[in-house]
Point group: D2
Chain length 189, copies 4
């Protein structure tokens, strides 16, 4: 089927460490800035909605709302009852947290932006890589973002993990990469 | 965790037969009206986004866009490349069509409205029933909607399938039922 | 890819009401007989492994073990910790109970046999129907088995729900239907 | 619920690169030896069943069959039609390849053994880590096995990736670690 042009807004995922990894206030502010710029640049923010605690991803949701963006929270198991109350749309994946919900998250995006991050973030970077979805990491944010900056995840060399210096640059880079993606994954442009 | 009040809009799913079941123009118009009223009443339309053909659910999406509503298309497998081009948000469930994608669809809603419908529609009515999510069917639309009008799906008597006479009434009924639902499934009210 | 002949044993699913539906001792014995005959006829028993209570499906597992059959329990969420202790293999689907786990159950079989049954059983009959997998119901066992005996689930007329009078006949019928299925779903025969 | 002792056999997963990563004959032989020892030690082999090509995981299946072991192939999407013809049990996860099927694979095991491996292997190591399932890698096999040998995947320090020098040692180590696991994930011992 021939894909047609559309005015669908890009869906950008911001992800990073969860609260139990005790990230700094600086990282939290940068995550909010990422969300802010996603909204400001006209894209939809996709974030991981939790039922129990905060994360850098939910911080990005707060930032997006400051810029009046549209936010889509993707959660695990059943039930639309989530911890953060500022999602405009909530999706219950019916999959477990820790690999399942993260799959729907990673593959429902045109591009991913990653700040710091533990094993959950690594999981999503991997599924995005396998589906040729662009990933941008914020330089100096630690965790898997820094470990994977500039590399390919395996010898197949699908998509290189790109690096940005600031939240604004990360969002601009993610949008640029998403717009260049083959139509099979995104029919915009 | 105590659920708080929120201004989140209700998420209403309209579902029904797919194009291979050769539904009438009348049903298609009613499906569009369902989508129109979902949007008009301030709710978000959740619909099943297909990669190959039309359905009463995608007709509802067209109706919602006529009222400038927000539409969320939930699709199967990978890839945001869908057939209908008027979804505002697309979710790739990474689950198969025929029971998988339908699970995320059914459980990401505050209420479901059903018009006619074959086995796919039946599938979603069942998962909604099991999760105590209200279901309203349009009277006289045929298929599983008519077969299940007014019944409980098993001896557990979770939620009775409610019946409405017109698209507008169906949407009003769905919203009313969704607002009465226990907070575990929807924190609005 | 051309499918080759194989000696893989058929995978037969026995399903039915869960314990909260308070089925009779007679039904429980028939479910055990179904499991017994699945094993006796050389097939593998696929059953729904629960973490909290018994069901006609776990009763079938007991029956299969009496005939020294191989039993595969498919459970929901994470964790191989299940209630019944006589499964030889346990699969954690990472999907929710109530439509998710039931999907993997229904589609990991060459044929399904159904005894009585509430909404969970209905769910699996639907996904099997959509994937052209044969379904046999035990006559007179009540629930969705009796309601759907001899019908097609929609106007697509994929597979008719077949009816058997005894557990032994149900297993023989399921095996016969499975062996006639197109190779795309089963490469045996 | 108090878990009881059982005689259930341990389920050991062997995973590694897929054929498109052009692994050596030496690695293939080692993968077969891993499968051989899993069976020889009385455990069930869990492997990733593909519909199109070979992998180190399917090589392990061949090895397990040489020792008359029980092999369970877990595949993606619908359909039990898989490429390798020596699986005793086939599970159709109804999830996509590239994060979905891998989730069910990783979490349906008591322990994982990893040889070389690209992004798919990394994916499974991550989900296992998040669920506290032991992972053993074969020293010197390259890929993600060597990159992650001896490390924790994040600051949560759930389970350290253990290292073995030979296939036989890897299997013995995996069994030992699986038997020490908390009962919530495995009720054996």
């Amino acid at each position: 089927m021939k894909a047609q042009k559309t005015k669908r807004k890009l869906q950008i995922r911001v992800m990073g460490s969860a609260a139990d990894l005790k990230y700094t206030k600086i990282l939290e502010r940068q995550a909010e800035e990422l969300g802010y710029w996603v909204a400001k640049k006209g894209a939809i923010l996709i974030f991981g909605a939790e039922k129990d605690y905060d994360s850098l991803s939910t911080a990005a949701c707060r930032g997006a709302k400051k810029a009046n963006g549209l936010t889509v929270g993707i959660t695990y198991d059943k039930g639309l009852n989530i911890y953060k109350k500022n999602a405009d749309v909530i999706i219950a994946t019916c999959l477990v947290r820790g690999g399942g919900r993260e799959l729907t998250l990673g593959l429902s995006c045109d591009a991913l932006i990653c700040i710091s991050g533990g094993s959950g973030t690594l999981n999503e970077i991997v599924v995005a890589y396998q589906a040729n979805i662009p990933v941008v990491v914020l330089e100096g944010s630690g965790g898997w973002s820094d470990k994977l900056a500039g590399v390919y995840l395996d010898a197949r060399k699908r998509v290189k993990i790109e690096v940005a210096k600031t939240p604004k640059e990360a969002v601009e880079m993610a949008i640029r990469l998403a717009e260049k993606k083959p139509q099979i994954f995104c029919y915009r442009n």
